[in-house]
Amino acid sequence: MTSVDDVRPAAVTARGWGWRHAGRARPAVTGLDLDIRPGERVLLLGPSGAGKSTLLHALAGVLGDSTAAAASADASADAEDSDETGSLLIDGAPPRARRGRAGLMQQDPETQVVLSRLGDDVAFGAENLSVPPADIWRRVGEALDDVGLGGLPLQHPTSALSGGQKQRLALAGILAMRPGLLLLDEPTANLDPAGVLEVRDAVGRCLDKTGATLVVVEHRVAVWKDLVDRIVVLQPGSATDSAVLLDGPPDLVLEQARDMLIAAGVWVPGHVPATRARRGGTGLEGDAGAGQLLLAAEELAVSRERPRRTGLLRGFRTVPPVPVQSGITAQVRAGQALTITGPNGSGKSTFALTLAGLLAPVAGAVSATTELSAGAGIDPYKWRAQQLIARIGTVFQEPEHQFVTGRVLDELMFGPRQLGRGEERVDELLERLRLRELVDANPYTLSGGEKRRLSVATVLAAHPQVLVLDEPTFGQDANTWAELASFLSELLDAGTAVVSVTHDAEFSEVLGGAELKLGAPQPGVPGLPGRTNPGVAAP
């Protein structure tokens, strides 16, 4: 655990720097003046569209391709080419000329892993920088120790890591390059609360050890506030204003810019966005009309795997998959919320998808009451797709998975058209979820918050009585969060049942209702009930 002395913290200088992406009319960043001293730790905030990610990518030297940059430098700038103005330097040279001085971590853990074995993945960056092989393995060992993965063998398959472990692995891969500048682009947005702290603490330890400069972009200020010594707030560029709105020590900036940051959807510490309160408290008691049983799971065992057929020698028998969770009993009632919680890998999403008629149960049964099924049969998994969407709507964690057309309006009309009814509801949803301005846009081009709102609206357009949501608040800014929570509380009061898989305690508090806690995964013990306590009201 020596030889960290070869890490030299990097300095960043921007002078009137701007960048326009190829094919875009407006620049992502204009007129940025910024100095970051070696060893400083900076949290970069600002509304979406302020160019935070663009800046990080530019510092990492991965923005645009070098040929396009060269072409736009000598010829007149074409709208098809990207366009750079001013200067952005690391240690006085353009980032592209400083390969390996900066290391970048992005949001999606799956794409932060390059190779299939732990040690090889960490070594990858160092190999590319032509570090001598003997030094590489020393660096790999140190980096894995530093991020807390030192206990795993170098041969460990990277596919077997959790999201938080994958991000720490990415950090190790970056550390093995000995960069003077760490660039983190929403590194914890896709992680559960335990994973968030894992990654944050690993970053903190590594910075303390190496003294490297840090620039991190993240909505959740509370997570990073104590680790950084400076907050820079960016604003969308314009010709007259500077790109930097505020710049200073964390507490000062958070005090001065509190209202602006809250308005921009940043999660400011100590501020829970205002949401609509549920009528009649949690909706658990009192309401006479609500509470009708719609859907029930009994002794359910769930898995994403399909039944497997054995080979010739075993006579092609069908073998059921090993469930990730079993013995789950739960009830879904009209106008009531059910929150599914539990540690990673406990089968929360798998259970929700099974409950929603999208996966076949391994054992036990999901049954719809006549109130919900309305003649479609008792087992939701056997319903036709059109029957399903009018009864149970499911909102997936990744909105893009559910887009089926190329235009926002078509996307909303899709369900009603399939059913041949309910097109009038679309107008109301457009208004309520603020999508009217976007009707002609391509769903794939929307911002994260807009995609989330659209995916909820499209599912609701088919008017299901039960709404199932998988981690609806993951990676969302505070504004989208508050809008979503308020909207769902309204739906609940109107009699829809809402089932949500979430780690977000504040979110489930707004919705009220019951909590279903799934225990740690118990693979290979079919028939043994998981630690479940259905029907326990959240406080």
């Binding site: 900066a102 290391g103 892993v113 299939s116 032509s130 969407i389 893009e400």
Partner: protein, 267 residues
Amino acid sequence: MRDALTLRGNHALLTRANPLAKFSGVVLITVALALSIDWVSASVALAFELLLFPLAGLTLALLWQRGWPLILAAAMGGWSTAILAPDHGRILLDVGVWSISEGSLQLGLGFLLRGLAIALPAVLLMSCTDPTDLADALAQQAKLPHRFVLGTLAAMRLVGLMAEEWQTIGMARRARGVGSHGSPVQRLKATLGQSFGLMVQAVRRASRLAVTMEARGFGGAQRTWARKATFSRLDAWVVLGGLLISGAAVAAAMGAGTWNMVFLGQQ
């Protein structure tokens, strides 16, 4: 699904051999068998290959799991040759236009055995070779361009992810009312839509992965290799083994008088 390409705890002897050596061995056997359709050379090679199973950590169950399409193809080839080849010798079975004679049966059997004997080494090679080791050998020893080799290797990891994503997108689309029911045209449309969704995700993932790799310094002209691909004494044995098996197969067939060069036409 995602681990389909890794060795999953296989520690057999041949996993330690150099992928290029193993590949040469396989080529030697394949070339010898491709020269002649006869059951003697094929069965001798097949017998040797079955003996190699434990060295590659392969079992019959695993073989079926990974190689069943090849085994079925070999069986189909053998069967159709038996009934369609020109008859000579005693007629064993005659159903109208289809007939099986001693000669055509022998030819069909040769075809079946040969198919198996050619397919098995490939399955053996796959089951004891880690893709990362193969990439190392191809880039460092076969001198293929490292950007191409490593790019392919990284992309292969995404293939497993895409299989999972396909299932998720299928469910997500059912939740939008796109079903797998209906007429063949509707079903085709649904599958095309799902493929498009998968393609979009694949492109997104690939471009993010490309950024990750570039940010880790990938793409330069020079790089070092943390895992040095080397040849060892074991590799000499592997190549020699390939040579011996192919030699034994050819010698046995010539000795038995069944050697039947494909390119010289049939007697």
